[in-house]
Symmetry: C2
Subunit: 323 residues, 2 copies
């Protein structure tokens, strides 16, 4: 078997992902899977309208990451960004809690104009990806509005208000996905997940509650994953009993979940065949559906190595364990 492994064996790969952590593995996958066989299905629950602009934070993170435009220092936004717009916003008393760089703004403005003209988020994302030279497919999970709402001890907050403005400080009681009952997976997502030559479905190490659940909350999506003949491999976002980044550990605590891989596997119960767990958590990986890998991705090599681990795991997993 060549270095390119399973992917060369044929087979398409579909990955579900959110923002930063998920985008890292998605980038790794682009180095291992031929681009015409790779589809990234991205969370849209973080999307919101801000100052009239339609912002899609996770789609943008994936677009920036896969095209080499991501800001490595911040973990969000664009590299070589400037902030004159934000300074002017402060001057005129505008909202400044959500940082919008001068060049990042262009994606939101271009997207908003095309949405207003009746184009779908799917078509807009495809065209921007092409402009950025990204050959892999990047698909919003749905073209309908799905909004992650966080019910907290300070009341219900739209996701970005909770995540950015309040820096995840309020205690979470529940997480809802407004609009999800009326949403459907796009035709493109359905086709990708139903492809006869699908070799694996990958659930990236994104936040299961905030990044993957909004995808799975779209009616029909869960069945498309659970009912697939292809193996489903998730990567645990926990490393050494902690979240690599973001509010996952805090949220799991507030929701009464232990910070162990078993909590992630429980969360994905019935959906995944294998959960890839970091070697640091080997002591907690007693379930036969768990396998070990290095999941912490600090370098590009790490991202590529994890992508390989995921594909190797899928090639030897076979479906059915989740039934």
């Amino acid at each position: 078997m060549s270095e390119r492994g399973m992917a060369d064996g044929g087979g398409r790969i579909v990955a579900l992902c959110g923002g930063v952590g998920g985008a890292k593995l998605a980038l790794g996958l682009t180095h291992v899977v031929p681009s015409d066989r790779l589809t990234i299905v991205v969370n849209t629950g973080d999307d919101f309208r801000h100052c009239g602009l339609h912002v899609s934070p996770d789609i943008d993170t994936v677009l920036y990451t896969l095209s080499g435009r991501a800001n490595q220092e911040t973990g969000w936004g664009r590299a070589n960004e400037s902030w004159r717009f934000m300074a002017a916003m402060a001057e005129v008393g505008g909202e400044t809690w959500f940082a919008l760089g001068d060049t990042d703004l262009a994606l939101h403005a271009a997207r908003t104009a095309r949405l207003a003209a009746g184009d779908s988020l799917t078509a807009i994302t495809r065209d921007i990806a092409a402009r950025f030279g990204i050959a892999a497919g990047i698909l919003p999970a749905t073209d309908q509005p799905v909004a992650t709402i966080v019910d907290t001890d300070e009341g219900s907050l739209p996701f970005q208000r909770y995540f950015v403005e309040r820096r995840c400080a309020p205690r979470i009681r529940a997480i809802r996905f407004a609009g999800a009952p009326g949403a459907v997976p796009t035709e493109e997502v359905r086709s990708a997940l139903a492809a006869p030559d699908l070799a694996a479905i990958v659930i990236c190490p994104s936040n299961p509650y905030l990044s993957i659940d909004p995808i799975l909350a779209i009616p029909g999506m869960r069945n498309l994953v659970a009912g697939s003949a292809a193996p489903v491999v998730a990567v645990s976002p926990l490393v050494g009993g902690q979240a690599v980044k973001g509010p996952l550990a805090k949220i799991m605590g507030e929701l009464g979940r232990d910070l162990v891989p078993a909590s992630i596997l429980d969360h994905y119960d019935g959906l995944v065949d294998v959960l890839l767990v970091d070697r640091q958590d080997a002591a907690h990986a007693r379930d036969p559906r768990m396998r070990l890998a290095q999941t912490l991705m600090t370098s590009l090599d790490d991202r590529i190595a994890l992508a390989r681990s995921v594909l190797e795991t899928a090639s030897t997993a076979g479906p059915g364990a989740r039934g």
Copy 2:
């Protein structure tokens, strides 16, 4: 009489204006009239939604001009502007026909956010003016949407598409103001025009058809001006039989109007007591309602001098000639 002249004699001044040319005289007025007695009523017919943002070109030009932020080279937008947003828009295939500078964008975004929150354009404009250190009153003519539509030989065009994207190339057949029948002058505009100590109403040398007419098309506005006990002084936008700037001469030709002051006076018939005409057009200033002044404003001194001429004219005009 002191240098400050009529303004010190008491009396409030209300000026109706559009963008560039009107804003120049408005700036001159701020040097001659105490700011608590000066109100600038601004055209909103150019307002439009672009990429989700509410853009108010004439209000912004007045805000930038009166606060020393105007770009002197371009005649629109802000000084010390940067264009990284526009470069990024081109990169992602976004709309680039309407130039939005990185700092100019902030006004549109802040305004859009507050409009979405239910604030009025009047309140938003007042707050931004205060942030910019402008003491004179700047009032949108109305808080309801009024959109200038240009009927041309290429069909009907929203104003900015005609003005910016098509650079006024299509031949005009008629000009309409969509939404005007449902609009009302704001309470603030009505109060300013009905002030008992109103000393003059000034119609700035803006384009009568594109900048002043959208204000006058608002039901009740014409009567507020024509019925005022204060003298109404308009400044002709023609100098030497030409428009100083913009498409006025072309439009007058297409509408079958001669490029002489009499055409402007006819247009404002029943509305103004005096039309100030540039000395270059003395040969065409035979109507007793016309008076001569230097109306071309190239320097700040010119702006201030014309403002003084307008006030002197008003102080000796007395109302009634228009009856």
